[in-house]
Symmetry: C2
Amino acid sequence: MTPIQDKTIIERLNWRYATKKFDSQKKISEAHWATLAESLRLAPSSYGLQPWQFLIVQSSDLRDQLTPFTWNQTQVKDCSHYVVLTYKKKMDETYIQNFIAKNAEVRDIPASNLDDYKKLMIDNLVKGPRSETINWWAQRQCYIAMGFLMETAALLEIDTCPIEGLDPAAYDKILKIEDSEYATVAAVACGYRHADDKYQFAKKVRFDSASVVKFV
Amino acid sequence: MTPIQDKTIIERLNWRYATKKFDSQKKISEAHWATLAESLRLAPSSYGLQPWQFLIVQSSDLRDQLTPFTWNQTQVKDCSHYVVLTYKKKMDETYIQNFIAKNAEVRDIPASNLDDYKKLMIDNLVKGPRSETINWWAQRQCYIAMGFLMETAALLEIDTCPIEGLDPAAYDKILKIEDSEYATVAAVACGYRHADDKYQFAKKVRFDSASVVKFV
């Protein structure tokens, strides 16, 4: 595989910042978008269950409707691709059964080989104590995918802005998923920084390494 | 900046898998570890608040103690760097004040310039409705960092295994953080796959792109 240098990664992560103003004229190419979408899809999740759906809001009308429920942040309208991360509200046996069927299909093995795996997931997530906090569990998984999306974007010199400042219930209604199995948790605006965005010149604020990464 | 190809990223993300058996003889170099640690530190978080600490468990004795509280998974002992992700249990004015001070220092501006920003955070996270679910909020942020750690590792051809199958309370006790402001949420074993780990040859199981990434 083509080696990637340590310094290249560090350079990109320092280049990244939460973009406040996007250049609405610049769009992400199809090739780059395909890589971003694959980064979401290939992200790891607990048991590999992928308790998520990612809605890419390209309708101008929908973006208009979402804006007031996003503290009127301009990124919603101006970015190239507006990604809404939704999590599966409930984990049930049907979903796990479908996942096992997919697993058996991809790996070309009998689904019955995976009975122990299935039981483990059901006992933990559907019947066990984790079922009571399953929505928080699913939201956390979405944030791994959010991380993958933002890091891949930075590697490709694509800007992003993660957005938690939104009204999830209003989003669900506008996006017509309120009666579905999924609900909004956050969004990521993706595109290219506007030359006028002063925040691109601000130094990144991070606590010192010694206070956040500790050897024990 | 040195360009990174789309196909290189896709290749690495497909190469990544949740490593079940690490080669205990292979250690991550200091240069690569520095990049992984920076990926954790530079990860984005809500308001940039970094409500986390990452404990790198290198003590063999501590790893022995943690193993039975990790379903006896061998990755705890065999990996090169064992990263425990801990989140800040409570968000208070003191923490936000410290963050503002750091911000003012790094950007060389008076802290008073950031009064609105400070008030916004306090009103939302300390006094607002989000304060009631602040631990879940902080855990989610940790998962962004988890994503950054795992993607950077894959780029450097370093293996990882994310671990939620652990007893957080036992971890807190063994790691002596039970009386601190932080608590365990998950771990990531980092290192190099063992040649015998059969899972490296298993096809990755993901739902089809059309069912997880939807344009609206």
